[in-house]
Symmetry: C2
Subunit: 204 residues, 2 copies
């Protein structure tokens, strides 16, 4: 085993450090967040920090820094109150990852990639068309993480759109059936297969 100390981490070149620290939490979710500005400009951006917070009420969170490429997403969801979470799957990996490029707010990533927007009923934020699992989200609250000035955004799931074949009898959504991606670090994507379920555990 290689031992990396706190001092080593502090002294690494910043590119080495962001690769290292971003890959050491484990596999991450691979999502495209869709928003629309009050001026009607659509935005779509890749996020790997969407995390389950609770199922009743159904809540998810994600982390962002106020001064990065994710800023358009944040400004749009704050001003409109709504956003979408769309799962990245095998056939759109490269286009999805490209949304991490720092485009100005007047440019839509839908115009710079082959990704297409899609609207459902009266929900105002754009979904990403042809993704196997799409969530309509409503902004609930946010927390400023003092330790590094990151923001945790908490949202409520107001609608789920899921490919019929993924949804199993007990409510489990089998992501592997849709070739949904997972992210390792900043830029590595994999398509997990052959998941194995172990069920609810009781003490022996």
């Amino acid at each position: 085993m290689i031992h990396i100390s706190n001092e080593d981490i502090d002294n690494f070149h910043h590119v080495y450090r962001i690769n290292l620290i971003n890959s050491c939490s484990g596999y991450k979710s691979a999502n495209l967040l869709g928003t629309k500005s009050v001026d009607g400009i659509e935005n779509v951006a890749v996020f790997s920090s969407v995390t389950h917070i609770g199922s009743n009420p159904p809540m998810l969170g994600f982390f962002l820094r106020p001064t990065t490429v994710m800023r358009n997403t944040y400004e749009n969801l704050k001003s409109t109150g709504f956003y979408t979470i769309n799962h990245i799957h095998k056939s759109i990996l490269e286009e999805a990852h490209h949304t991490s490029a720092k485009y100005d707010s007047e440019i839509s990533e839908f115009d710079k990639t082959t990704l297409n927007s899609e609207y459902k009923k009266s929900f105002q934020a754009p979904f990403v068309k042809d993704t196997p699992l799409q969530l309509a989200m409503e902004y609930v609250e946010e927390y400023n993480i003092k330790a590094n000035n990151t923001i945790l955004v908490v949202g409520k799931i107001v609608e789920i759109h899921v490919n019929e074949e993924l949804l199993e009898d007990d409510g489990f959504i089998n992501l592997s059936k849709a070739d949904v991606a997972t992210i390792n670090g900043l830029d590595a994507y994999a398509i997990p297969k052959q998941n194995k379920r172990f069920g609810y555990q009781r003490p022996k």
Copy 2:
């Protein structure tokens, strides 16, 4: 596509709802958190919510409810200030998942599974022996998520222990080389392979 409304979610049987909502955020990290109580009782528990918060300083977060099985982990890390994050890999899936069973605080999951604890230098929290990536963590702060009374625990990485073959030249830790697991929903585990890196993106 199946459309599931907010009302549908509210009206589902609670088991169906927790399966559905827990599997709709995407793939999750698969970690064992190791702690030791002030009375010297070791605890190890599976978590799927460890998430990257920032790389400088190196910070990770995870979510927990104060009244579930995770309580021992929380009480121990609050009273001692330290915990470990250990990656679940292919050969310990079933044992790792069993730590989700609700054991009393005086019982160590290390005694109820084949998992073994391991200590390094002066760090007081137990690591899980033979895991390919182990993080020594220091408690920093916590946030009470008002929306559902969940707690976000924020910790700093103070040491990284990683199998040499996983660490690539640019700092990237290649989890697939160690058969590290990812979690879908509450109880499905997969071992991602063949990740593909896309690099840093600039506007076209």
